[in-house]
Assembly symmetry: C2
Homo-oligomer: 413 residues x 2
């Protein structure tokens, strides 16, 4: 019998599975997932793709989009996403990957963080094919007897196999008994949603597999578990993270995003194509071949910067960003045209501190001219418009300051 697909999906189950596996670290339940996809193709009933979000780190960068993009790709194939905001879970704190329990969040914080999340995740996910759920709506209703049922589904020994629990136990760092309930809460979310697939980073392996255990315990077909790698940041070494400063934020202006993409280390170009773009696996293979044949990585990176920036900005913004990049940073096209100013006194590194240097270099004639330009919106730093208040802003260095329509200067530290 020939395979037929549902209306919204244009791909066979096998082709879908190929796209799902692109860049993934591990897929547990591959055979089951293929069966689910085939069934979905036949019946036209979309799969439920679950993503749990812990609302404690509200700024989303490309590292977070690794799972989001994968879900988007599954939405393109016709499936439905459920984003579970762990508002109940967040009240306890997530010990995942931490050596100590994380502080519990208040209801207020959870709500505020969730609002910020939504603005950002819908830059990736298809809003029409996404349901947002708060796990407090079912977890808060569970009574002691039901909690006991959840807890009875697993053992202390299995909990202590989880890396972070194991390390803490061996190093005599206390583990609260309540922390054993956290993976069970997350697992019960899958039961409640009857999830077909759950996605997460490799640091979520234990918790997501617990979902399979609990679904079986409740007589459900277990979800497939798709683990995506943790994306390295621009330094090429550490996991992308806001606190390490090696990130590309999804809300950053097009020019900033484009420039940061051009800073991706050559060794990570293919990984970024795989993990944070929607480019088809076949095309990624072609790009990999080109690099192997000696194509200039800079040219490939321009493609990467276009792909990524284009996902979060309009065509026009993308074009402007690329033009700006070439004007400001690409020495090949406009060599030596941008003067460089070096801030020598690290304690005098605000825009206001820079005024004497700007006058000496004939970029402005006076402090008043700068202020007038600021008021008119004629001053940009790495493409971002500055205002008068920004005079006291600290300059980080390696930034391009644009004054009026034609004057550029590169600030070094």
């Amino acid at each position: 019998m020939e395979e037929r697909c549902n209306k919204s999906a244009h791909m066979s189950a096998k082709e879908q599975l190929r796209i799902i596996c692109k860049g993934a670290s591990q897929l547990v339940g591959e055979k089951e997932l293929l069966e689910k996809l085939e069934r979905s193709c036949k019946t036209g009933k979309p799969l439920t793709v679950k993503l749990g979000l812990d609302p404690s780190a509200p700024d989303i960068h490309l590292g977070h989009t690794v799972v989001l993009r994968k879900i988007r790709q599954m939405q393109e194939a016709g499936h439905e996403a459920v984003v579970v905001i762990g508002d109940f879970t967040g009240k306890i704190g997530d010990p995942t990957g931490k050596s100590r329990g994380r502080a519990a969040l208040s209801d207020e914080q959870v709500k505020e963080n969730a609002r910020t999340y939504f603005e950002q995740i819908f830059r990736v996910l298809d809003r029409k094919k996404t349901t947002v759920a708060y796990n407090s709506s079912w977890l808060a209703k569970l009574n002691f007897e039901e909690v006991v049922r959840l807890a009875a589904s697993t053992t202390v020994a299995r909990m202590l196999e989880r890396d972070d629990f194991k390390n803490r136990y061996e190093n005599q760092i206390p583990i609260g008994v309540h922390e054993f309930l956290y993976p069970l809460m997350q697992a019960y979310d899958s039961v409640e949603l009857k999830a077909d697939v759950e996605l997460g980073g490799t640091d979520q392996t234990f918790n997501i597999l617990m979902g399979r255990t609990l679904q079986k315990e409740f007589g459900q077909e277990p979800q497939a578990a798709l683990f995506m790698p943790l994306l390295e940041g621009l330094d090429g070494i550490e996991k992308m993270s806001k606190s390490l400063g090696n990130y590309i934020g999804v809300q950053e202006p097009a020019q900033v995003m484009f420039k940061k993409c051009m800073e991706v280390p050559d060794s990570l170009i293919i990984r970024y194509f795989e993990l944070v773009t929607d480019i088809h696996p076949d095309e990624v293979a072609q790009i990999e071949a080109q690099l192997a044949e000696g194509v200039n990585p800079r040219d490939v990176k321009l493609r990467l910067a276009r792909e990524i920036t284009g996902l979060y900005h309009s065509g026009e913004e993308l074009r402007n960003a690329e033009e700006f990049y070439h004007a400001a940073f690409s020495r090949k096209s406009i060599p030596e045209q941008i003067p460089e100013l070096i801030i020598e006194n690290e304690e005098k590194d605000t825009l206001a501190d820079l005024i004497p240097l700007l006058i000496r270099n004939e970029l402005i004639t006076s402090r008043n001219e700068l202020i007038r330009l600021l008021r008119q919106g004629g001053v940009r730093l790495d493409g971002e418009k500055l205002c008068e208040e920004d005079l006291s802003m600290t300059l980080m260095g390696n930034q391009v300051l644009k004054l009026g329509k034609k004057k550029f200067v590169k600030i070094l530290k």
Copy 2:
């Protein structure tokens, strides 16, 4: 300032403490308990004495009365008991002292067991000063968030210090995560009841001390924890237990009870006086001195048998039981008067099987005479009246059968 005591209590706080400590294995919080007793003496407000019962073994024997008698002694001093029926806890099963989790009980079983319990515990406790509570009435209402709060009060490492958990963990025998919730439930009972003292066997040490932890966590003064030893049975070695057959049941007829008390090994006489009678510590000390001076243990045991039997039976029943004991078992007073019948075929050991032997020994003239005697209530086995249905009852051996008013026969196997 002179110590004054409340109306019902006739003793000073220190004297009360002395009686409380009689026979006890350990008292945690002795200083606090003395303070509580002194406060109670001053205010006249009784202390709340908690006893948790797991309704899984409904037959109460003297081993169970060790804690019950202690509570009775505290009631005599004016305090109030709360007996907590662990109906909620029982649904999970108590892993205490077991290598594997105990099967959960149904609501029906719990209710039936509790009914049986009450008939028996009020043979020891003062009904007027006892409140019966079912912990399901508060535990069933706790929601997930409240359970998390309980669980957060302790650590995985501390749970794994409990002997049975430790052994199971080390021997890779699975411990369900829900089993970690059981001690917390029992501990929360103390919070709910604002218990001043909790009693239990030494096998309950961990759980009862957890009550102190949780009370402090909830801002309460912690309960004192009074641990009573586990009573050895009539074999003098194993813990008294129905399944081992080395027990004295509180519902047994006076004659049986009296006879069994006389079988207590000499080495345990003082322990029995301490743990299962209400005799004052000073008097126990006198008895101990008498034994040391060479008084015949048999005479001391007669006193013990009188004390114990008198606690569960009327004065008349006690007198009859003692007379019967002397007639049936005390060879000194009536030697050789009772013929012995030996059941030789172990498969033919019912009362009906015995009829030919009884006729041959001229104890009855016919089967019909035995049936008439049974119908008239003229047949007793170890003092218990038999009826016609008992013809098919198995005879255990070493029992005294009484036929009519004067005929005795000892049945051996």
